[in-house]
Amino acid sequence: MRYLPHTQEDVTAMLETIGVSSVEDLFDAVPEDSRPLHPLDLEPPLSEWDLVRRMESMARNHASADRARVFLGAGSYSHHIPAIIPQLLGRSEFTTAYTPYQPEVSQGTLQAIFEYQTLTARLLGMDLANASMYDGASALAEALLMALRLGKGKKKVALSRAIHPRYREVVKTYCSPAEFELVELPFDPESGTTDFSGLKDMEGLAALAVQSPNIFGCIENLAEAANLAHESQSLLVAAFTEPLAFGLIRNPGSQGADIVCGEGQSFGIPQSFGGPGLGMFACRMTHVRNMPGRVVGETKDVNGERGFVLTLSTREQHIRREKATSNICSNQGLCATASAMYMAALGGTGIRELAAQNRDKAAFLMGILEGTGFRPVFSSPVFNEFVMKAPDGFAAIHAKLMERNMVAGMSLGSWYPELEGAYLFCATETQSREDMEALAEAIEEEMS
């Protein structure tokens, strides 16, 4: 095996040095009652060439954006990834290093993450960001746990029903062992944004969580949400699944959000069947010591040179054990670096233009779908995804279109029973006008 360098001669000489007669002797500590009764039951090893063949055939067995027209976002977005990103990210000095415990030989990772933290804080309008969380959903769950810690003794959080349903499920999983109470706020069926009226007279609330743009693509009024949260002495946690939106719309920090968290996959990270992505997490400096996750800080070396280190680790599990702010250690370091490369590649000028293009594409797609009998469901402005009521009998057509390698949005009925027959669509810069017109044409063909 090419990864295993030992020759028989090496093994013999090493055993002699150790003073045992066989490799098996090294495993004497494993008693009979803990050993397997059979040899490892695994397929025979594949050569590199057979491995590639096998993997390629599995990959071909999957409808991906390179072969299909997928008009779907819902937390995972198709965006162009500049060639420089995989190229630079693939440098093995980045990929084959571990957590930067030894800063003098990890300045590459450390500066890259410090830059990621800074760009993320600027993007979201916050004081600081951590080094990353696993994904947007667990970032939201940890944000609410943080708010519950800060809200000493409070047991309740309110979540908008227009937050991605999967995110709400992860929150429920994280909050259930400690028996925190989750209250859901409805969305207004006309505007598609959160209805905050239920917040009145709500006692013991630690946090209010709102997603913007929300699961329907609608832009929420975070400033109002922040006022309501602060009136009830609770924190506003603002979530997102599409960070590109902040190239155009007001960032959550400028509207009074206390914690901002979400998914950064859109920024230079392949969709990759939903993972690995990037949990972005930002907060105010006043709350830094309650923040979960790792964080990189700037300092100086003995010669006064600028350098970077992992810092504030007294919050973390390896020091505080059961009193830690979180148990997270390995996070999504390389994905955070990818997103920083992407933010640097776009720049302040580029992100505005790309965000505008995304909004234009969605508006255009909405327009041509209306031409085929779809109707918009909500009145609020959207970013790059939106909900349309389908013409009668569209479910069968949706299935037919898949056979033609087109995914015409996603039916919302299973997530929101009241939206049975409504579909969530998404258009980004990767969909050309031609793609969208082809979709409309195909719908019309199938309908007639």
Partner: protein, 486 residues
């Protein structure tokens, strides 16, 4: 030998991103606008856009190329970081993960369009079952710590289903720091368990702590001293007898593949770190993956969705009323799972050999250095060996000094000051992919440092001398945190 040591090479200075660039530059190929402009956003919703620097493509490329050159990775040299299993990461895996069929796959397409990825995940589940001897797997946890958290949630759900609530969990002093943190997130209080004089756990000590209010025990096996917990099966029997459950932290699985059957050992839940045992690149701190394997009794509680095989091929099972729910928006770190699948398929039953050679390498280092440094436990170890600072302290030298000096000699330092049960611990995990010559060079460097400690301790205290930066002021960094650039 002198010529073998690392030298400085080219180290460029490189400013921070926002200290470069000019407004109006771009490193991104903007697509042509082919649709009309949408109407402007209403006042109050539109923002300024973020204050990002504008750079050209070459500026970005040079920036990250230079940054990367300040990093030490497995591809640069030996990285004997104990408990982290920094073995060689096969290059072919990076190519496989980038296959468009997988890299461009949307997670919410119907099962019929997702057979490739679902099939791969199903097969990986089967392989992990074969390697552990356990009955069911969830691939969802995104890292080892999330795997632990998942495990504790499974415990909690299992007791809830029995109509019980247990508040305590036994955690040995040789456990990873994440263990108590994970348990605390599930509202359990850790009860400390001390290892015996022989540095492993003993059934009678567990029996003294185990009662009806205790959920069970979390054992790292092999433990953080690199020793196998030989009494695990007996300990598990004691825990089970009182209705408790047994969790195994499998971070050190690289030592025992083909040598243990988790089920026979009495384990109810174990997590893997795929980035350790199955060699998916660590990425400077992720992404990793921390799948959990469980005994049949705990299967109903595994996270949603389950990846199953049915008459239509591979599918997602959502209908599991006892499940703890979701831990991830989708299915976990699929791109990492794919690399682990490739690694296991490349080795097959040779995984046993992987463990044998990992253990051989660790013992070779332990034997070779035991006369120069104080070995924390003098006897056969598993995948890693731990040295204390007993003999260094006399010379006025610290473990940290030794670690920093190793950098000058071309090696990444081992894990330091962990486990806490050893004074000034230095934890060396060579892994199976290092050659005997490399281990010899490492030991020679360690011996030379020992000589320097006696003859010229100053050089140790001022190390590292050849890196981009010298020792950094970590105290100042924590006292006046600067976490965001201006």
């Amino acid at each position: 030998m002198k010529g073998d040591y690392a030298s400085t090479g080219l180290i460029f200075k490189e400013p921070l991103l926002w200290e470069k660039g000019r407004k109006g530059r771009r490193a991104f190929s903007m697509p042509e606008r082919d649709v009309p402009e949408a109407e402007a956003l209403p006042e109050g919703l539109a923002g300024e856009g973020p204050d990002f620097p504008d750079l050209s493509e070459l500026e970005v490329v040079r920036h990250y190329t230079r940054l990367s050159q300040w990093n030490f990775g497995v591809d640069s040299g030996m990285y004997p970081l104990g408990s982290c299993t920094m073995k060689y990461n096969p290059k072919i895996h990076e190519k496989l993960a980038a296959l468009p069929g997988f890299a461009m796959a949307h997670p919410l397409l119907p099962e019929s369009l997702s057979q490739g990825a679902l099939g791969l995940m199903y097969e990986l589940q089967q392989m992990l079952k074969a390697i552990t001897g356990l009955d069911a797997v969830s691939l969802q946890p995104a890292a080892g710590a999330q795997g632990e958290l998942c495990g504790m949630m499974l415990f909690e759900a299992c007791f809830r289903a029995r109509g019980e609530k247990r508040h305590k969990i036994i955690i040995p002093d040789t456990a990873h720091g994440t263990n108590p943190a994970s348990a605390a997130l599930c509202g359990m209080k850790p009860v400390a368990l001390r290892s015996g004089a022989d540095s492993i756990l003993h059934p009678e000590d567990v029996a003294a702590l185990m009662d009806e209010h205790t959920a069970g025990i979390m054992i790292t096996n092999p433990n953080t001293l690199g020793l196998f917990e030989s009494n695990m099966a007996a300990i598990a029997a004691i825990v089970h007898e009182k209705g408790g459950l047994v969790y195994c932290d499998g971070a050190n699985m690289n030592a025992v593949m083909g040598y243990v059957d988790m089920k026979r050992m009495g384990v109810d839940v174990v997590h893997f770190n795929l980035h350790k045992t199955f060699s998916t690149p660590h990425g400077g701190g992720g992404p990793g993956a921390g799948p959990v394997c469980v005994r049949a009794e705990l299967e109903p509680f595994l996270p949603l969705p389950r990846i199953v095989k049915n008459e239509r091929g591979y599918g997602l099972k959502e209908d599991c009323p006892l499940s703890i729910g979701r831990l991830h928006a989708f299915y976990g770190n699929f791109g990492v799972l794919l690399k682990a699948w490739a690694y296991i398929r490349s080795l097959g039953a040779d995984l046993k050999k992987v463990s044998e050679l990992a253990v051989l390498n660790a013992n070779y280092i332990r034997s070779g250095l035991k006369d120069t440094y104080d070995v924390a436990y003098d006897g056969i170890c598993m995948h890693e060996c731990v040295f204390s600072d007993k003999t260094l302290k006399i010379l006025g030298v610290t473990t940290l000094d030794v670690a920093k000096r190793l950098i000058d000699l071309g090696f990444h330092p081992p894990t330091v000051y962990f486990p806490l049960v050893v004074s000034g611990a230095l934890m060396v995990e060579p892994t199976e992919t290092e050659t005997r010559e490399e281990l010899d060079r490492f030991m020679e460097a360690m011996r030379r440092i020992r000589e320097e400690a006696e003859e010229n301790p100053e050089i140790l205290k001022s190390a590292p001398l050849r890196t981009k930066v010298r020792r950094l002021d970590e105290t100042a960094a924590a006292r006046n945190p600067c976490l965001c650039g201006r």
